[in-house]
Structure formats: C-alpha cells, structure tokens
Symmetry: C2
Subunit: 500 residues, 2 copies
C-alpha cells in the first residue's frame, strides 16, 4: 500500500539541491569520459535487457539521486554504444566537446523557449550573429548571410532542413504552375544521397516515384554527374513532369563523395530548380582553406546546411542551415495567431524563427555553437579537424601498405573506405564471396568491443567505413584499430583458406 | 595579423578541464536561479541590441571560459525573457526542474545518437519503458502502451507529432482512395486548435483551404461541438471531399478549453478519420485522478500527445506521443538504407525509433523524463501540479472578488482567463474600447518587469491569460502579480475616466 501523502516541501528547482546534484553529475560525466576506454565500444546487451532490470511502473515516492546514478552506472551504461569512445569509427562521428556539452547545459538552465524575438531576444539575436560568424568561417558567399540579405537558422537535424527546403520550393513552384499540380513535381538527387531526402520528399507530399536517384559510378568516385542529371531532367520534362529540387551532397554517407556544385547548379537553374547543398558531414572542413574548394559553386545554390553536431564539436542537435531567400521559407511556414502577437513582431523589424522552421518551440541552441566557436577559436577548430584528417590519412597508408587490403575510393576528408581484397573472380557483386568475407570481418571486429566501424554497399562493393572524428581519438587508437582489423583479417583468411 | 599557429594541445574533451568548467557552470546556473527575481521577467532590450555588443567575427584564438561567462552575464542575460522566473505567467509554462536540467546534461555527456536500437540500445529501451510508465500514470488505455500493442515515442515538439500523425493518416487514406487524391483530403479542428496544426497540414501537402477550423462559442466554453463537427463533415462529404483527420485539444492555448473526446471520436470514426488528441498542456494534469476525466473517451482516438516540457518539469524539448498502431507510422516513415543495416534491425525484434519520427538523429531524451519521474515520484509530481492549480484558483478568486474585473471562462487547469470589465456598450468586438483598455493594461503590467502575462482574443474578447506553472512560483508571487495588475488597473481607470 502506498501512503496517502509522501510529498516533499522542497521546490524541484531549489538551488542548493541543484548545486549538490549538479556537481555530482559533472564529476560523473568527467569520470565517464576518463574511463570510457574500459567499455566495449559497441554495446553487447541483448534486445529487451533493460525491461528486466527496471521496475514495471514509475515510483510513487521520490528516489534519491544516488540511487538513480547507481542505476545509470549499472543498467544504462552497459546498454550504451559509446559514440564518444576514442575507438568509435562508425557512421559519422557526433563529435563532442566541453564547450558543446556545457552550452547545452546552460541552455537547459536558462530554460527559455525562443520561438519569436520577444520570447527571448538574446536567443534569436545570438543565433543570427553566430550563423553569420560561422558562415564567414566557411567563406559562404555573402548572399547566405544576414549581412548579405540571406540568413541562417539552427535546426535539429538535416532531415528537418530537407523538409523545410522542400516545402519552400514546393510552394514557390505550385504558385507558378497551379496548386493542384503537386503530383507533377520531381526531386533529383544521386543514388548516394542520404535516405532522409526521400523521406522528406514523401513527408511533403511528393509522390515516392517522383524522386530520381540518379546512378553514380565508382569511376566518378560516386559523385553525381551533371550530364546524368541533365539526361534525367530532360527525359522527365519531355514526359510532362516538373523539375522542382536538386539535392547535392558534400561528403556522402557511404563514401564521402563530393557532388560538383558548379555544373550541377548550372543544369538545375536551367530548369528552374531549387538547389540545396547537404554538407552535413563535409561542410565543417570548409573552415580550412585547403578544403574550401569542395563547395566551390555554392554561390549558384539556394540553401546550404551542415551538422555542427557531426564533425564540429557541438553536441546533438545542431543543424546549421543558410538560405539566400528567407522570404521563401517564411511564406510557407509563417503562422500568426493572435495569442503570439506582440509589438516587436508587428513592427516587422525582428526575426521570429518560428517562421523559419517546422516547430514553434525551440531550444537556445546558438549558445552551444557560440561557446564552441569562442572556447576553441578558428585556429584550434581547424587544427582539430586537420588532426582527424591526418589520422585518416595515416590509416589509409596502413591499408594501402597491406597487400590483403585495398582502399575502395580515394579518401576526401577523415573517412577511409576499404576492404579485404578477394581473388579476382570473387568480385561479382553484392552476393560475392568477397563481400561476405568483409561482412564477416566487420562483425568480428565490432564483436571484439575494441573498435566500432560500419559498412556501406556501393556499386555492388561491400566496404568498411573507418570514420575518424570522435573527439577523444588519438593516433594510438587508430594504430590499435588497425591492429585489431589485421588480427581478424588473419583469422578470417585462415577460415577461408580451405574454401579455395 | 593573426599568428600562423595558435593551437592548443589540450583535447576539447579533456576531463580535468570539463570538470573545472562544469563546476563553474553548475554554480552559475544555481546562482542564476537564486537571483532570478532581480531581473525583469520580460526582457527590455531593443531589437539589434546584441550585434552592437559582440565582435563581427568569430575569434581566431581560443577565449577562456571566464571571458565567455562574463559576456553571458553582461550581454546575454539582459536579452533573456526569464521563462523560469517565478513571476512568469505568460504563454504556457516551460516548467523546469533539477532532474530535467541534469537529465539533459547527462544526455549531452553521453553524446549518443540513438536512431536505431544498435546505435545505443539503452536509449531505445529506456524510452519504451518510460513511455509505458508515463502512459500508466495518465491511465492511458492499454492499447496505447507497448504492453498493449501500441507504444510511445519522444519527439521534440507537438508540431512534429502533428506532422507525423498527418503523414501516417494521409498515406493510410491515400492507399484506400488512390494516391492522386491528396487534394481531396480534409482536416478538422476547432477555431481554438493550435496554429501548428494548420502549418503541419500545409507541410504534408494538404491544401490550406482544406483545413476546417470549426467555430466554437463562449457559451460552450470554446470547446469543439460534436454537432458542429458533424455538420461540417457532412457538408464536405456531400461536396466530394474526403474526411481525413480530426485534432481534438485538451487545454487549448487561448483558454485551456477541453474538447469532448467521446462524442467527437464517435463522429470522426463514423467517417473513417484518424483522431489525434493534442493534450500538450492539459495532459499532464491527468496524473491526478481528479483531472483524469478530461480525457475520458481517449480510448476512441488513435494517438495522444502531451509536452512534458510544458507542465511536467522536463526541460525543452520533450513531446510524448502515444499511438495505438505504430505500424501506420512505420509504413510512412521507415527508411532502410544499406549503411544503416544491422543484425538487430534485420531480426525485426527491436524498435528503431528513426522509423517513428521525422528525423534520423535523436537525443537521449528519455533520460531526463526518467530522472524526473524517479527524482520526484508520482506523489510529488501530483502535488506540484495541484499546487499550481491551487494558486490559479486563488488568483481566480481574487479576480472574482474585484468588481472591476471578470473571469472570462471558468478555469479548468492552472490558467485564469480574465479581463477588466468595460461599460456594457464597450463590449462590441475586438475593436471595442474594452479590448483596447485590456491591451493597454497588459502592456503596462508587462512593461513593469515585475510580471509577464500574454493575451488571447476569443469570440471577439481580448483577455489576459494568467498561466501558473513556472516551477519557482509560490503563492506570494501570485499575490504580488495581482497587486501589480490592480495598480495598473487603477492607473488605467484614471486614464480612461475622462473618456466616459
């Protein structure tokens, strides 16, 4: 039986209690980062593990923080795949930092909801400033910055940016061709574009059959060919379809391929399309002058986004989107109910970010990006990224120096795509023995708990992706990873020898 | 001239530095909460204030945390509208707590991206458990829980929940009636439904003219009438339109009106509609048995959402959505690119939350909700909410006891809708002198910096909304607010006297 009253008189925002628990948590996280190497990178729990460990219902009475922390250590941490582990080389990194984590903490501490200017002017104004700072660091053309008539906004993820851009482009096009013609609209990308684009197109009502994933080739390093794009567009136009949108990618998920912006924009503009540049991963590198060329031609596009939570030390979530024509967004996404009216908005002289995005409520995300930029400065940020690139380069060299392996596509950023070579006649598509062997290798390496990598399948080739970018990764972790991979390659070759 | 190299050798996740800065930040936030009453609730800065205070570009060199914190104190805090201020009674609360803030911190510290089960099993499994716990606390019917074949998911905001539900309903309906019939679909709500629904409908490709905002009346306390709904539907069906979706609200933004679920679901189901229950604000109260009746009839709906970041002590963002048929979501939102394939997903025995929502990446939000539930327990959480309701009740009594004021609609939760009475013949719609007088009153009260409230306009009546729910609010702040309101009412009556 639960007692009738068990209420505490302490306010849940009591400062003394916040201080006590807060210091405890800070130490907990610092210890977690210090000890992270003791955990297997990839969690080893089995599906359903946690339901067996936790009670079936929420507690009636309050529980002390000490009990909760104990459960986090005992029950939660074993179920975590440690994205911040220095031997995490999977997917793309979600690179963290002290400034990023504490920026998120501070935003939660302020607890403001900056949907419009008045609801917290600092949240809106800092975002405009930081987006101009960051845009300048990337040498984005002036028309993308507030200072040049465009502007930036921070969203959660690229998926949201896709939806927002598609809605803006869709409504602009339907205003031209008639609002009943949504079934005519066609979206273009490559077969390497992130799947989030197909999903976003579906969400906004584009027919799933009307997304053209133009085929790429290994010979062209899986970049979208402007000629192939033009052929696809021409064929569609002849059939009466209406080209709407092109998504070009700077650093594709499978192989970090870079689509050539200048000629692609040329084709797209010929046919009146909106061009969005998805630089979720590769964009960050553009703060280094030696990488800036990968977005040459961006001046011909309409919008550009990158995830500062991917390879820019700003914790999830922080997708930075710049657009040349914010009015196109605002036309599609503005809402003006009476209960949100206020003098500042009515004056037209302020930005209400709710009209630049899907959601009304929004966290104070610019705070963490600002803290990252200031805490490290341009010089260190470049140096961190270059450090990751140098480690990837070193890994690429190790792979190239081992006859059993090959680098599948030339490295562009801090990710190496490689695989074990098979005998020549194994190389017969995704069902081939070589692919299976590499799949086995990956399973064994990940199963070791010492390294976590993921795979891709491009042009029928199953390859391993070694993505450097976890903030704690140092050269020794790359060497250690290579040792683990080699060990398992030895074992696999032993297994396979009798097959030949 | 910038020097050629200014790089530091310290890793940006160095634990010692994290600890040092982290403790500093915790104290900063604790002090901010302790001293929050010294700030004007509504920020007083002028548009553009911050650009004049910050440098035009990001720093090249790293800056010490001490400098950054100084700027936060001097430049950011003055631009903040203090949502956590005990005299904040505007919009709806974004009620915070130690557990909520520290849960967000811990999630940032782990820095995992739980898009699928494998990417961090604990992130997925804790979410399923906590959503079942919370669903049980609300006495949601079993079919909404995982244990009953449905299930819950945590999103950012209700806007996302709307989009996801509309997409699922849309695709289900188009599969029945033909995929080219999107232009036929109609969405129903009341003229009190949150504007995010209209926006969401637009996003998913519903024609803006096909959202029916059925008129409500003051006599019915601005609740959606099932008869009015049925008339609207009948008229549409006769014209060949296809009813798709009904959004019922539990606690509308303007007046916290409660739509009657049971008869509304009855009508909606008659016409094959998806029914979503938006309990963003009012839902939390259902953990108290005396409020649970407001969602009677929810068993007839398809999905139910509330914002734990509104009135449930879990920091922004944390929208909890339960659905009876997760397959409908998954059919619309699943993506299965090769680079995300893994054994666990292939087995079909795990939940990949990426297929339940718009975005791929997702924060470990369940951690903070779990910490809130455990740190306070059901008993305290009920008591906190009842405390807010009691304060609102007290305020309502003060208003009712002053002849110059009237309560516009009966209070349902912790918000009081009131206004100064005018002379009878002023009461002539939104342009009337009475509305202007109340607008003036609100401007003066908010301008004082001692209280922040917002307004609504319903049935031509401009009313002031007094929403209790900021965690730090105590009875004395409500009394003080009433005093401020009375003072300004006196002054306004003085101003207006010569007009009569």
């Amino acid at each position: 039986m639960t007692p009738l009253t068990t209420t505490t008189t302490t306010n849940p925002m009591n400062s003394d209690e916040f201080r006590r628990q807060g210091h405890m948590l800070i130490d907990f996280i610092a210890d977690y980062h210090s000890n992270i190497e003791q955990y297997p990178v990839l969690s080893r729990v089995k599906p359903g593990y946690l339901r067996q460990l936790l009670p079936p219902s929420a507690p009636y009475e309050a529980e002390p923080i000490e009990e909760i922390m104990k459960d986090i250590q005992t029950h939660i941490i074993p179920g975590i795949t440690h994205w911040q582990h220095p031997s995490y080389f999977a997917y793309f990194p979600c690179s963290s930092s002290t400034a990023g984590i504490l920026g998120e903490l501070l935003a939660a501490g302020f607890g403001v909801v900056g949907f419009n200017w008045e609801a917290s002017p600092a949240a809106t104004e800092l975002e405009t400033i930081v987006m101009d700072w960051f845009g300048e660091m990337l040498s984005l053309p002036k028309p993308y910055l507030f200072s040049g008539g465009g502007g930036g906004v921070i969203m959660g993820t690229t998926c949201e940016a896709f939806i927002v851009m598609l809605v803006a482009a869709r409504d602009q096009k339907l205003a031209e061709i008639g609002k009943d013609k949504i079934g005519k609209l066609v979206v273009y990308c490559s077969d390497q574009t992130h799947c989030a684009l197909q999903k976003a197109a579906k969400v906004v009502g584009i027919r799933p059959g009307n997304v053209r994933a133009v085929a790429t080739t290994r010979a062209a390093a899986f970049a979208l060919s402007p000629d192939s794009l033009e052929s696809a567009v021409l064929a569609d136009v002849e059939m009466g379809w209406v080209p709407l949108f092109l998504c070009a990618t700077i650093g594709t998920t499978s192989t970090t391929a870079v689509d050539p912006l200048k000629p692609l924009c040329h084709v797209a503009k010929e046919y009146g399309m909106w061009v969005h540049v998805d630089a979720a991963y590769g964009g960050s590198a553009c703060i280094c002058p030696e990488f800036r060329h990968v977005i040459d031609g961006v001046e011909g596009a309409d919008s550009f986004s990158l995830n500062a939570h991917k390879w820019f030390f700003t914790t999830l979530d922080c997708c930075c989107l710049w657009v040349k024509n914010p009015d196109a967004l605002k036309r599609s996404l503005s809402t003006n109910p009476e209960y949100l009216r206020n003098q500042a908005s009515d004056s037209g002289g302020v930005i209400d970010y709710k009209d630049w995005q899907l959601t009304l409520s929004r966290r104070f995300r610019s705070l963490k990006l600002w803290m990252v930029l200031r805490s490290y400065g341009v010089a260190n940020l470049r140096s961190f990224l270059r450090g990751h690139v140098a480690m990837a380069k070193a890994f690429e060299k190790l792979v190239a120096g081992d006859d059993r392996f090959e680098v599948v596509v030339p490295r562009r950023f801090a990710m190496v795509c490689f695989r074990m070579k098979g005998s020549d006649d194994d190389d017969d598509g995704d069902e081939g023995a070589n692919n299976l062997m590499n799949k086995k290798l990956l399973e064994r390496v990940n199963g070791s708990g010492r390294v976590f990598m993921t795979h891709a399948l491009v042009g029928g080739i199953y390859l391993l992706r070694f993505a450097v970018g976890s903030t704690l990764t140092e050269a020794e972790h790359v060497m250690e990873a290579w040792k683990v991979i080699q060990e398992h390659a030895d074992a696999i070759q032993g297994d396979y020898k009798h097959l030949y």
